[in-house]
């Protein structure tokens, strides 16, 4: 014990107070701004996807930037293959495919993005609440999710559209209703891992309400997960819309979407008029691909540990 007694406490405090000055003068790391953004930008596929989508949205809403025609305008008297005036050719009524594609894109994108917003909202709220209040609400959410998984999404969507008509608003609501669970599960997992962090304990100790904790602590710390899943949900929504419309249960004339165009051109899908079918198909493919790339790019940007897939 001699060692202990010899140690003079004054010594310790003297050193300590000297050290306090060091601590404060010690340079703190320069604020690293936009870390995630930089990582995202370094991901080429994701960056290109963003550019592509921005261009697509601009073109869909201002088609006159690249086409001289208006919607449903008869530009030729017969079906034309792609040429210099009609870049993607014309359909059998002589309408310019590119123009139709862009106008149809408006509806497709509107549905997709609306679904993205609504289902992200429902999903992150439900996920955060389920994760935070773990027991009862959580198992309830899990059971509901199980139920929705039992019947394929396409079947639920087709059935519901039969009832609620072909308004795209109905479509948005129904697709949202069947696709929020993905977000909810991810956010729930995130919240479960956040919940045991000490800052949540600190907030509880400080008498903060559960609502405050959910909105101020849990959801802001789940942004990365929410962003990732919303991009993914949008991609899924586009595919679902196009499939159900292609089967003839989705968007109905006079409204058009890419899925609806595919339905219209179904008869030309094999043979020399394949180009008619190909344009909306490729548009769908690339848009879905872009959202998938963005989703993965966001995931990698927010979580540098998850290796590039």
């Amino acid at each position: 014990m001699s060692g202990l007694e010899e140690t003079k406490e004054n010594d310790v405090s003297k050193q300590a107070s000297k050290h306090i000055k060091e601590t404060i003068v010690e340079s703190i790391p320069p604020p690293i701004k936009f870390r995630a953004l930089k990582r995202f930008y370094a991901n080429r596929a994701a960056t290109i996807s963003v550019v592509f989508l921005v261009a697509l949205i601009v073109l869909c809403y201002f088609p006159n930037l690249i086409t001289d025609f208006s919607q449903n305008e008869q530009t030729a008297f017969k079906r034309l293959p792609p040429n210099s005036t009609n870049w993607l050719g014309t359909d059998l009524l002589g309408r310019d495919i590119l123009t139709e594609l862009l106008y149809a894109g408006q509806i497709t994108l509107r549905i997709a993005i609306a679904v993205g917003i609504i289902s992200t909202f429902i999903g992150s709220l439900a996920g955060a609440i389920a994760g935070y209040f773990h027991k009862i609400i959580d198992s309830l959410l899990m059971r509901v999710t199980d139920l929705f998984l039992v019947v394929p999404q396409l079947v639920i969507l087709a059935l519901a559209l039969k009832k609620f008509g072909d308004e795209y608003i109905a479509m948005v609501l129904i697709i949202s209703l069947i696709s929020w669970m993905f977000t909810a599960r991810l956010v729930r997992a995130q919240v479960l891992s956040l919940k045991s962090r000490e800052f949540i304990d600190a907030a509880k100790m400080n008498g903060r309400s559960s609502i405050y904790i959910v909105f101020r602590h849990l959801i802001p710390n789940s942004w990365s997960v929410i962003a990732v899943s919303s991009a993914f949900t949008i991609a899924g929504a586009i595919l679902l819309e196009s499939t159900v419309s292609f089967l003839g249960f989705g968007v109905q004339a006079p409204l058009t979407s890419w899925g609806r165009m595919l339905y219209d051109f179904k008869g030309f899908a094999i043979g020399q008029y394949f180009y008619l079918f190909l344009s909306p198909a490729l548009a769908t493919f690339f848009t879905v691909l872009a959202f998938n790339f963005i989703s993965d790019g966001l995931r990698d940007a927010f979580d540098p540990r998850s290796e590039q897939s």
Binding site: M1, S2, G3, L4, E5, E6, T7, K8, E9, D11, V12, S13, Q15, A16, S17, K18, H19, I20, E22, T23, I24, E26, I28, P29, P31, I32, R197, E198, F199, D201, A202, A203, K204, M205, N206, G207, R208, R216, H217, P220, N221, W223
Partner: protein, 378 residues
Amino acid sequence: MSGVNIEGVNSESLDSILRIDDLHKTFVTRSRGRKISTYALRGVSFSIKQGEAVGIVGESGCGKSTLARLIAGLETSTRGSMSFNNMPMRFTKALRKKISMVFQDPYASLNPRMSTASCVREPMHLLSKEELKVKLDKIYEEKPEEEWTTIPRGFLKRFFLKFESKRALAEKTYASRLLELVQLRPEWSVRYPHEFSGGQRQRIGIARALATSPDLLILDEPVSALDVSVQAGIISLLAKLQEENELAMLFISHDLRVVKHICDRVIVMYLGQIMEDASSELLFSRPRHPYTKALIASIPKAKLHERTKGYKAEKQENVHVGSEIPVRVLKGEIPSPTNPPQGCPFRTRCEKATDECLQKPPLAKMTDGRLIACHFPY
């Protein structure tokens, strides 16, 4: 039984701020249908006086954190009672103001998405308007000319600054002052936690804990996650704050040297029970309980001599030594808290153990005033 023991020298009369009586906590976990009980606390009784710094030491898993979380109201006890200022504890807003806690991990205890000011302001909603005003008046009295508000970064935040309520501005000013109290720059209040080092973050945590001017501060291993070079600074800051504000502290640590430096009284815990409860001086100069002796003997002596030679040497020494030093000197493994031994919990590792130790020794008062739970305390 424990009611009697509490009448010890260290925790005499009614001026105790926190009194804990026969506290039990059993965690029941389920693992695929099977119930497993972990006896984290098994009858803990002690009390803390106004302005007293009490240390709690013990090996990992002995229930120190559980005790802290029970007192903080983050967990509910299985049995036993707690009273604060002689009132049974009920975690109302009024009580939450009086007790606050500094957490172990400075990286997990601050929300990474909240600015420093917001972190420090978090408990301030507990303060009434008048209380906040009193604090502000004091600040302006002390430093009338100081500029306390820092313009936030970010366009939107600057824009919304115009619409901020008086209350919010007052809280921000107070937050800046608190940062200054823990020796950080007030203008750093707009920064985010990731822009600080571990020690600086822990200071923010301390500032947050002090925001409501608590009477009791619980510190759960506040320095064990920090670089050794930073520990001393935090420790002496805490010592200073404790002295200035007459804070009662419950200081949990692995590190006996830290406890010795900062605490008036030390409680040694083992497997959810108190082994020895004595004033710092007594405990370190003349440890009685076999477990306490073993713990103290396991402090590497060389390092203590080294300390006088200067700070750098100490740092290098410490690089290899984790905070779990005691485990090495003590023989054998610590028994699992799911199945603690009958009688004296330390029986399985004690050199002096006899058949008598199969009976649980009571926490008895010695002539020198300490409390000790051992049949052979000499």
